[in-house]
């Protein structure tokens, strides 16, 4: 969830080329090792209309954090049903609203499984539909809970999906740790050529073990980060439990702020979140 600016044009071209190549071969089948995942935890969000998230599964982040959650974000996170509740149709909806609230001009919500579901390695996935529009920043991501290195980025961060609302066909997946964080994480993008992440549901997943981190969209592996690649940049900080986070941020230095034309309210609609362990 930290600022990403690709440092060299060469790198950008390399990524673009990779994406084009992959996009042209969507019919090709990937030959991946067989996995045997066992469901460890899930929330299917089958509550009634207006119901708040299950308090036994999620806790809230409330407020504006420190310096807009470290990114100059504009929203105030609340636990009000108008910002986060079930739609009664099997989904959790996080709604970013343009309204004056406390010191902020937008409200939204952010929930996490900290202290509830923290797991080392495995598969973590969510099926969701993103919001759109300039300055909307939805994310499904993970932070390490590390007693030994409690501060970011030594705790480690895995961004399974984040998206700039003004580019609703591009998602980005990244890892942050010492030596590769903030504006310069290890990252990959997946671009839809003729559709958008905000108009249909997609499944975003990470598969993570002691030697690599794989990012998937709709079970298509688009980015693999090997431990050796990480250790060439800094320390591998992915051998301790992580928890999951869902949020919709508004504005900030990752993507810029909304303007008068940005449509509000904006919704991230989440069908389910699941965590698997190796069987």
């Amino acid at each position: 969830m930290s600022n990403l600016i690709l440092k060299s044009a060469a790198k950008y071209i390399a990524i673009s080329t990779l994406l084009v190549t992959m996009s042209c071969s969507t019919d090709a089948t990937q030959k991946l090792d067989k996995r045997n995942w066992q469901l460890a935890w899930s929330d299917e969000f089958n509550g009634t209309l207006g119901e708040s998230p299950d308090a036994t599964k999620w806790v809230y982040d409330i407020g504006t954090g420190d310096n807009g959650w470290g990114n100059k974000e504009l929203q105030y996170y609340t636990n009000r049903p108008q910002n986060i509740s079930m739609d009664g149709a099997g989904n959790l909806v996080i709604t970013a609203i343009k309204e004056n609230f406390q010191t902020a001009s937008y409200t939204s919500a952010r929930i996490k499984t900290k202290g509830i579901l923290e797991q080392k390695y495995g598969r973590f996935e969510a099926r969701l539909k993103t919001p759109y529009g300039l300055g909307l920043w939805p994310a499904f991501w993970m932070l390490g809970d590390n007693a030994e290195f409690p501060t970011w980025p030594t705790c480690g961060e895995i961004d399974i999906m984040e998206l700039r609302g003004q580019q609703p066909n591009i998602i980005q997946s990244s890892i942050h740790g010492p030596g590769y964080y903030g504006a310069d994480p290890i990252t990959g993008k997946n671009t839809l050529i003729d559709s958008r992440y905000d108009t249909d549901f997609h499944v975003f997943a990470v598969e993570w073990d002691e030697s690599k981190i794989d990012f998937f969209v709709d079970d298509y592996l688009f980015k693999r980060i090997e431990r050796s690649e990480v250790e060439a940049r800094g320390n591998w900080v992915f051998d301790h439990p992580f928890y999951m986070i869902l949020n919709v941020a508004v504005g900030g230095n990752f993507l810029g702020n909304p303007n008068s034309l940005t449509p509000f309210p904006q919704k991230m609609t989440i069908d389910y979140v699941r965590a698997y362990k190796k069987g």
């Binding site: 003004q166 580019q167 003729d194 559709s195 958008r196 034309l261």
Partner: protein, 467 residues
Amino acid sequence: MKTLSSIKFNRIVIGLFTLLFFLGCQNDDSDLQVAKFSKDPNVFIDGFSSGLIYAAFSGTDIFAFQVDNKVTYNNTSASMRFDVPNVNDPAGSYAGGAFFTAVGRDLSSYNALTFWAKSSVASTLGVVGFGIDLGANTYPASLSNLRLSTVWKKYTIPIPDASKLKTEKGMFYISAGPENGNGFSFWIDEVKFENIGTIAYPQPSINGGLDTSVTSFVGVSATVTGLASTFNLLNGTDQVVTTSVNYFNFASSNTAVATVDSQGVVSTVGPGTAVITASIGGVQAKGSLTVQSLGAFAAAPTPVKPAANVITIFSNAYTNAPVEYYNGYWAPYQTTQSADFNVNGDTVLNYTNFNFVGIQFSQPTINVTAMTHMHLDLFIPGTLASGANFKIQLVDFGADGVYGGTDDKSHTLTYTSPTLVAKNWISLDVPFTNMPSLTTRAHLAQIIFSGTNVSNFYADNIYFYKN
């Protein structure tokens, strides 16, 4: 930048400059299928597509358009170049024309017209769109004031409802005037219809997207305006497309009060309230018009003075003298809007959100020296607020015939209850002898109404007469 929003398409010069291109037209087995109309998406790729015809719009430099083989998008073999003339160029005042086919095409499987464009200088195209076929022009849709830059960029015009375009002939049209008085050139290439998966959130709108209400009477008709549709494009912008009325389906919540036809013409037929809404392709439009009908309209008394004894500013009973305007929209303090309406052939002035308003007839000024009275019929709907007053000021511009100077004369009369009543026509006959400050009326030029606590009134039969 000259915005050519009111091109008179029926005056287009076809005969002068009609080019017929039948390039790359090869028989294809699929042409022999039952499909009656071609689904050819191409308009101009490296030349005119099959059957495409060009006609310059009237008033343009008819040689402004040509096929260019030097400057093209992506080094293809040809592009379309338009040379916008300088202001006052005798050859024409702008560049533009329509590209159309003699036989319609079935465009219903596409959702946008796209093209690449660049300009010799950063510029603004007044209108660019499709649906102008120099015939019925049934389904125009266009972008207004499209900004071009000096590098090739792709532009997208979403189709408001492609299911309507089963036999469309209007493939592309464009119109551009000088930029700050100066001519320039722009190039268009790769013009084609596409089905783009990233066009999202179609949102039609009527009445400018606003929910407003209007007081009406049986026999009044009005047209729904402010028609557009908006689409979210991949670059994050909400693209507003000016959308023909023919894409819309209109509905009335109560057809006993008001009906609406396919052209958005709302006719009030009974007392009560009706809400006019619309949709395109099943998507409900933003905005609505609520008709609050007071029922039968009591027309103002029909004037009976002989026409020879009357000088008329506003009346359907006589011929009006030349009037510059019935609402001067005098900035910055005037709030008054006009909502004039027509009931069974009788036009009525309606001033809303009223504080003051001027009617001017200074070209030429009017000599009413031979007249003895001014007449005005006034109707205040609703209830008369306490403290309401209504003032009539007559202004004579003097011998110089213009506003200001030292020779202007005027007089103001104030009316209050019980002369002022609500919901009834008030016929005022004001003798000039009651206007002593109006020491001359040989160069009369303005009638100014002002008032307090009168927010809305109708006016009719404004004239001067002698007995």
